[in-house]
């Protein structure tokens, strides 16, 4: 059995070093092509007519005038009269025309009559006494959930927990399938337990999850020496991918679809497009060279993507481009669920945390959403938690880096920071004191807190709340810790060594800008002992073997494992052919520095090219897989811990918060490319500063629409907002030997909590909700002054 394990520290030439991103030269020169850049021949321009109402019944649709406009090639009604639209911006009619101007003119000619209905877009704290316990799903609930694109996992879990209150028959299932329900959901419906419908059971927008209790919270609170209470939360934010969602689809012939789509999930798209288009998944080809941002929002073939394919079919197969405009991108193509909580924490005088109570609420759109994992990281022994999910007409939520964790961190770390203030304790001491209840990563946190404190100069700089003010400028420090899983997703890798020495790798994965191409090449080059630029890598196409979607920090584990196994097998196949020429056994050979040589006698060697020529006329082609129990060891791992600290300055007159410095200390197992790994953390800190200070989807409660669907009023941090950033990656013993673990999620979890805590430390009072805008800061200061 060959050794597929990662080479140890002494034998690594590339892994763990600082490797320059291989696709950077293409990106800086404008040569990198994105879905939005693709031009088929005779490209048609798609437009979507969208609902102006947050909730309305479609009464009638008249497309005749648009169809007659010269230059219009296809019009497709996506949602028929009678349908109840559940959010503003939802797709109603799609059309394609010879140029964008004509498509815009045609869109204005579409007449749609709506019957507006009451809507709810507010995620304010549910009034007392409203809301219902979650119960079995009625038939309407199921149709709504399918129409509203409730995430499969949530849907299936709900059915398993609560069952249905109607008889599920095959007709209904077929109808649901036609509406886009996945086979897994249909299966869950078949298995769902039947409950008699309860007369008068209403449809409240407020769904209460069952209260969760651990230990004896009442006793713990009555015995607590100190109790701290507060309100904390993060609003809805948008993904705001710079390349919007969308695709260009064409039909080379009537049975084959070719789609360029901006996706985090190249290999998963054909299966999603097949059913709604009535085509075999095998006949759907998907291609994507580069993606301009996803952040969790681009796993699905969306309704607008299906629209592009249908329009193309109607227009004789010509390519139809349907890329969202910026306002739609912000309105309908990305929302991170909001989460807020009233929290009570009990502790002993020495800082030992004993009790947690939370009443949380938030919205993830029409499906309601779920409770964030609070209390976060700290498994407080006595807990009582209640959560109310608000079903709103804001459009479906989508996964946003580390789903639910940034919210959980902001709520938990805020509450613990307030507890520390109440105890007159340095929060760093409180965190250290309670590490025992953080589970298996406690020693990692201890080490990381020490390193972070040193890099921040915490002990020198930290003052009690509101005690570091000069003039109108308040100065403060805050910290937070976080965790994430990881592991590698499924990935297949085809690996070919040619007799002329060239090497080709093919994977149906995608590089989100995280450095996926770079790590695949680094692993291959390390294994073969040849330079990175001697290898050709092909990704981003369904012509190549499948890899999982890039989500949950699972890509690097998946692709590095499949590539490593393939590269080892290819190298060993080559050794078998070369060994006779070197008068050696294959097992005695090694491949280093562009040569294949005998381990104990390096003078017996061949250049890589000479060695490959021994293959004769036959290439070596192998496939590597992840996971693959037949080829141990497991090359990936799961479970990381990270610590972040923030230093801020707050102008007490204007309420403006400025982040002065951030420190991130992160473990993620074996790091393949230190440079892009650090880049992930720098990027996450910056994204974190952005959502901490600026980002919020603001809705008009009366009109039901998002008020800031543009980049002027939905603000992203700019380069001048970026302070000194210090990133420290944990490496060496205890880290490198764990295997590869992804890094997309962990470092983006803590910034909100750390910055909010730093602001509380600076101004002496908690600003409950992010983003920490001047109005919120001034309101908190005003309350403090008035109290």
């Amino acid at each position: 059995m060959p050794d597929y394990g990662w080479p140890d520290g002494e034998h690594r030439t590339l892994i763990g070093k600082r490797i320059t991103r291989v696709d950077a030269p293409y990106k800086v020169s404008g040569r990198a092509k994105y879905t939005y850049d693709y031009h088929g021949k005779n490209l048609l321009f798609g437009k979507m007519v969208r609902s102006p109402y947050a909730r309305a019944k479609i009464v009638s649709i008249d497309i005749s005038a648009a169809e007659k406009l010269p230059g219009v090639k296809a019009v497709e009604i996506m949602q028929k009269p009678g349908t109840v639209v559940q959010w503003a911006g939802d797709d109603i009619v799609a059309l394609a025309a010879v140029d964008e101007a004509t498509a815009e003119d045609a869109a204005r000619l579409i007449r749609i009559d709506y019957q507006p209905m009451p809507h709810l877009v507010s995620d304010a704290e549910p009034p007392a006494g409203v809301g219902e316990e979650a119960g079995p799903m009625g038939e309407d609930d199921v149709w709504d959930a399918v129409d509203n694109q409730m995430p499969d996992r949530q849907f299936i879990q709900y059915l398993a927990d609560h069952g249905v209150s109607f008889r599920v028959d095959e007709d209904t299932l077929n109808g649901l399938k036609g509406d886009g329900a996945s086979d897994a959901v249909l299966d869950a419906l078949r298995k769902a337990q039947y409950h008699e419908p309860v007369a008068g059971a209403g449809h409240s927008a407020y769904q209460k999850a069952a209260a969760q209790t651990a230990g004896d919270p009442d006793k713990a609170f009555s015995e607590a020496e100190v109790i701290s209470e507060g309100v904390y939360g993060i609003p809805l934010i948008a993904h705001c991918c710079l390349e919007p969602h969308g695709s260009t689809s064409e039909w080379p012939d009537k049975d084959h679809l070719f789609t360029h789509i901006s996706t985090q999930n190249v290999s998963g798209i054909p299966g999603q497009m097949a059913d709604p288009l009535g085509v075999q998944a095998a006949n759907v080809r998907v291609h994507q060279d580069n993606i301009g941002g996803g952040f969790g929002s681009k796993f699905a073939a969306d309704r607008w993507d299906i629209a592009a394919a249908r329009l193309s079919r109607k227009a004789g197969g010509l390519p139809v481009r349907m890329m969202l405009e910026r306002n739609s991108e912000l309105e309908v193509a990305g929302a991170r669920p909001s989460a807020y909580a009233r929290v009570k924490v009990g502790a002993k005088k020495d800082g030992t945390i004993t009790a947690w109570q939370s009443r949380s609420w938030g919205t993830g759109g029409p499906a309601g959403g779920s409770m964030p994992p609070i209390p976060y990281v700290f498994n407080i022994p006595n807990q009582r938690k209640e959560h109310t999910a608000i079903r709103t007409n804001i459009g479906p939520a989508r996964a946003w880096r580390a789903p639910n964790h940034p919210q959980a961190a902001a709520i938990t770390m805020g509450a613990l920071d307030d507890l520390a203030a109440r105890l007159n304790m340095d929060p760093l001491e409180l965190w250290l004191k309670n590490l025992e209840i953080t589970g298996p990563r406690r020693d990692v946190y201890r080490e990381e807190l020490g390193i972070a404190a040193e890099l921040m100069n915490w002990k020198e700089k930290w003052r009690g709340r509101g005690q570091d003010v000069s003039g109108v400028t308040a100065h403060g420090l805050g910290l937070s810790i976080h965790t994430w899983g990881g592991r590698g997703h499924e990935s297949d890798c085809d690996f070919t060594v040619h007799p002329d020495g060239s090497v080709e790798i093919k994977l149906g994965t995608q590089d989100l800008g995280t450095g996926t191409r770079t790590v695949i090449l680094a692993v291959a080059a390390e294994t073969l002992g040849i330079p990175i630029d001697a290898i050709q890598l092909h990704i981003g196409d369904t012509l190549y073997p499948p890899s999982g979607g890039s989500g949950g920090s699972t890509t690097v584990g998946g692709v590095s494992s499949s590539t490593r196994r393939a590269a080892v097998d290819a190298r060993d196949a080559l050794f078998a052919k070369v060994a006779p020429s070197l008068n050696a056994q294959p097992a005695e050979l090694e491949s280093v520095n562009g040569t294949v040589r005998v381990k104990n006698d390096p003078n017996r060697s061949l250049s890589w090219k000479q060695a490959c020529s021994k293959l004769g006329a036959v290439t070596v082609t192998v496939r590597g897989k992840n996971p693959d129990k037949s080829k141990p060891p497991d090359l990936t791992n799961s479970g990381v811990g990270g610590v972040q600290m923030a230093e801020v300055e707050v102008d007490m007159e204007t309420g403006v918060v400025k982040v002065k410095k951030m420190v991130a200390v992160q473990d993620c197992g074996l790091i393949i490319d230190m440079k892009t790994a650090e880049g992930q953390v720098y990027g996450a800190l910056i994204m974190g500063i952005s959502y901490s200070l600026y980002e919020e989807k603001i809705f008009d409660n009366i009109g039901g629409r998002m008020l800031n669907p543009n980049m002027e009023f939905y603000r992203l941090a700019g380069i001048e907002d970026i302070p000194e950033l210090v990133v420290h990656m944990m490496t060496g013993k205890g880290y490198d030997d764990r295997g590869v673990i992804g890094l997309g999620e962990p470092p983006v979890i803590s910034p909100g909590a750390a910055i909010a805590n730093a602001v509380a430390n600076a101004i002496g009072v908690r600003v409950p909700f992010l983003p920490l805008t001047p109005d919120r800061v001034l309101a908190a200061l005003g309350q403090k002054a008035g109290a």
Partner: protein, 212 residues
Amino acid sequence: MRDDHLPKKKPRKKAEANSGVSRRDFLKISSISAAAMPVLGTKVVHAAGTPVKVYGPGKVPIELTVNSRKYALQLEPRVTLLDALRDQLDITGAKRVCDRAECGSCTVIIDGKAVYACSLLAIEAQGKSITTVESFMDGDKLHPIQQALVNNDASQCGFCTPGFVVALKAFLDKHPNATPEQIRRGLSGNLCRCGTYHGLQLAAAELAQKGA
């Protein structure tokens, strides 16, 4: 709060979130509101006593000079320079992101000045020298600005990157001895979502040191 208290490189527009009509939409609408005119091509009308050329409706001949090459196009007057570059000429380094002068991803250089190509009509760009990111390489060799970005890992998804490269070039051409702090200010009209500002700052420092 980025630079609200400081003079802006470009004046900000007034709030338009409610009207749904941006300045650029307005430009487009006003050029088609001449729809009463049945003739193709240019017509001169008198507005407040001044003769004004009116173009359209329908396609009109437009000539653009991009990266020293002349292109003859037939375009409706409402087409932006950005869309003309991307959709007509397949010059796609400039990206369409906000489409209303907020993010800088479409930055090109016109007569030596950084300009948001989404906020200029193609017809207005006639007779001017338009430079895009595609012209910066010298054969296979990256421009020193591009190389600095590569060295300092200043791109992730890369969608904003060409805009930053062009903005940097325009700024450094004008201010060859700029400090890193001044370069930061010079890049404040561009936005990134992945968070590559750290790498961009390092690149700026490298370029400032070299006096690129």
